[in-house]
């Protein structure tokens, strides 16, 4: 029942969940004129806040591509088997557990199980139910035989950094499970520190999981074959830039996160370079790691096969 694209030929409308670091490549491609070079124009780029709204926008045909996390694509696939993942933008799980500075927890060297055990009985802020942030907490608790719904108090704080850091700093929650760069921002203002970071390698089983993606549906993609191909080439060039000169990346990221604390931006550059893949094409092992994590953590009950969902 999806409507076709409503945008003119040569143009792509992209709906993003947020301005998170995962979508830095889009910024680079735009900033450097890469899209123009490849012959595609970006139309509207609404920030939609949640996966449900990205899905709604895709279904209504007001956007051609959704920029979100793989969870959103899995959710969409449940109601639309034409769902396709177009590109891979981040292949690390970029959600961190951040604890209040005052919280008594094991040091950095401790095992992930010990660290997870330190969170039992605590109030943990997440973005919302059914989100990737909740999934990480559930997954970590699952590994030590606990149930996050019972053995901790999960508090939904929405996606705004101010709410999250505010709740942590004012002691309303003991810890946060939040996406980058909230951890870096919390550290920059001294509200807390990053405690468990899958992207840093703290959770070996989640290593290299596909996370930030561009996705869409065949109803839309069929009409925009050339544009999507051009988009994909542009992403390739943008990812090259991120893996290129570090100073240049620092400068671009500073522009992207123009209002953020410079210390947080500094901290982010090396992390970004390590979690961004070298090619926008979705790698099978990254996909499978992500799929396994989603099913294990109960984030989704079904996930399509690699071959069914990958565009190509």
């Amino acid at each position: 029942a999806s409507r076709g694209s409503s945008t003119p030929t040569g143009t792509l409308n992209i709906g993003q969940i947020s301005n998170s670091v995962a979508f830095f490549p889009l910024f680079i491609a735009e900033q450097r004129g890469i899209f123009a070079e490849e012959g595609v124009k970006l139309g509207d780029r609404p920030r939609l806040g949640t996966g449900a709204k990205v899905a709604a926008a895709l279904k209504s045909g007001s956007i051609d591509l959704g920029a979100g996390v793989v969870t959103d694509a899995f959710n969409l696939a449940e109601s639309d088997d034409g769902t396709r993942i177009v590109s891979s933008l981040v292949s690390e799980y970029y959600v961190d557990i951040i604890v209040a500075t005052s919280l008594d927890v094991p040091g950095d060297g401790a095992s992930v199980e010990d660290k997870a055990a330190a969170l039992v009985g605590k109030k943990i802020g997440i973005t919302g139910p059914g989100s990737g942030t909740e999934a990480l907490v559930k997954y970590l608790f699952g590994r030590i035989g606990k149930d996050a719904a019972v053995d901790a108090t999960l508090v939904n704080l929405g996606a705004a950094a101010t709410s999250a850091v505010g709740a942590l700093k004012s002691g309303r929650v003991d810890a946060l499970a939040f996406f980058q760069p909230i951890g870096q921002q919390a550290e920059a203002v001294g509200a807390g520190r990053i405690f468990i970071s899958p992207a840093r390698g703290d959770v070996p089983s989640m290593r290299g999981a596909l996370h930030g993606v561009m996705f869409s549906t065949t109803a839309l993609l069929d009409k925009k074959k050339d544009e999507v191909a051009a988009f994909q080439r542009a992403m390739g060039k943008a990812l090259e830039v991120i893996h290129g000169d570090e100073a240049e990346v620092r400068q671009l990221l500073g522009q992207y996160l123009d209002k953020s604390d410079p210390a947080a931006v500094d901290a982010l550059v090396p992390i970004l370079r390590s979690e961004v893949p070298s090619t926008p094409d979705v790698q099978r092992d990254a996909y499978e790691t992500a799929k396994r994590f989603h099913l294990d953590s109960g984030l989704v009950t079904n996930a399509p096969d690699y071959s069914a969902v990958i565009l190509g």
Binding site: T50, A56, N75, G128, G130, V155, G158, G166, A167, R172
Partner: protein, 282 residues
């Protein structure tokens, strides 16, 4: 028109007015109310059937769900207790928020409307505060009031306050001078004037304020739950939305609508009571 009647029986004596008993049939007594309810039910039925059919044939139920799915979800939730747990929490927040906002709003309205200069000075600031989207202040609310029930009650009260305040103030400023003077002549002080003239005379304003504020008590509480919560109907909406469970979202909205309707009935009862002196519209 209820004047037409059958047998006319004199009941009053000589000195007093002439009164007659007008025994009314059941239908004369309850006819309108019955008609109203029948029409309401018919409307509900019509909308539900149309929705169900549309959901099956013409529209994509991914985003609109359909009545049978919603009912199924409600029955499920009623059975496993989810419904009662979350509704109870939200109802508490709504009621406390509504009461807090309505009482402070009505008081502020009465006081400020009679202090003309102060009202004029503060008016733009009140409007400016009122215009701030509460969601934008959510972080501040969390920092100041925490993530518990207090925060949601205050968020609900904040919206209710403004609506009741502005409506009350408008009502108060419209009170007939003649009636106020009558009480002054009887030696009434400010308090007598407020209680015996301004309050009854501005009841239309106050009640309109209460009526338009009901939905905002709900919206305020739910927004609070969307922002910082793990319980309540706002949480249920959030949870269902994240899981693409449209039936769940709509089931929660149905519960919210029912709560609103019940509160509306309460305000309607107050309205009937205080306005019984007014002519019935015909």
């Amino acid at each position: 028109m209820t004047e037409a009647s059958g047998v006319i029986t004199e009941t009053a004596g000589n000195g007093g007015p002439v009164r007659v008993a007008v025994p009314r049939t059941w239908w004369q007594r309850h006819g309108t109310t019955t008609t109203v309810w029948v029409l309401r039910l018919a409307l509900i039925a019509f909308v539900l059937v149309l929705w169900e059919i549309a959901g099956e044939r013409w529209i994509d139920i991914t985003f609109t769900s359909k009545p049978t799915d919603i009912v199924t979800r409600l029955v499920e939730w009623a059975a496993d207790g989810t419904l009662w747990l979350h509704s109870w929490i939200t109802v508490q927040e709504i009621v406390y928020g509504f009461l807090l906002g309505a009482v402070t709003g009505a008081l502020a309205g009465f006081v400020l409307a009679s202090l003309n200069l102060l009202y004029r000075v503060l008016d733009p600031f009140i409007m400016a505060l009122y215009s701030i989207p509460k969601v934008a202040l959510a972080p501040l609310f969390i920092v100041w009031f925490g993530i518990g029930m207090h925060m949601k009650v205050l968020l609900a009260a904040a919206t209710v306050f403004f609506l009741v305040f502005l409506n009350t103030a408008a009502g108060v400023r419209d009170v007939d001078r003649g009636l106020v003077d009558a009480v002054r002549l009887m030696g009434g002080n400010r308090w007598d004037i407020a209680r015996k003239v301004v309050l009854p005379a501005s009841m239309t304003g106050v009640l309109t304020g209460l009526k338009v504020a009901i939905p905002y008590a709900l919206i305020g509480a739910v927004i609070g739950e969307l922002v910082a919560s793990n319980r309540g109907l706002g949480y249920l909406i959030n949870d269902a939305a994240a899981q693409f469970d449209t039936a769940g979202v709509f089931a929660t909205l149905v519960v919210l609508s029912v709560i609103a309707a019940v509160l509306n009935v309460f305000v309607g009862l107050i309205d009937k009571r205080v306005n019984k002196w007014k002519p019935i519209n015909d």
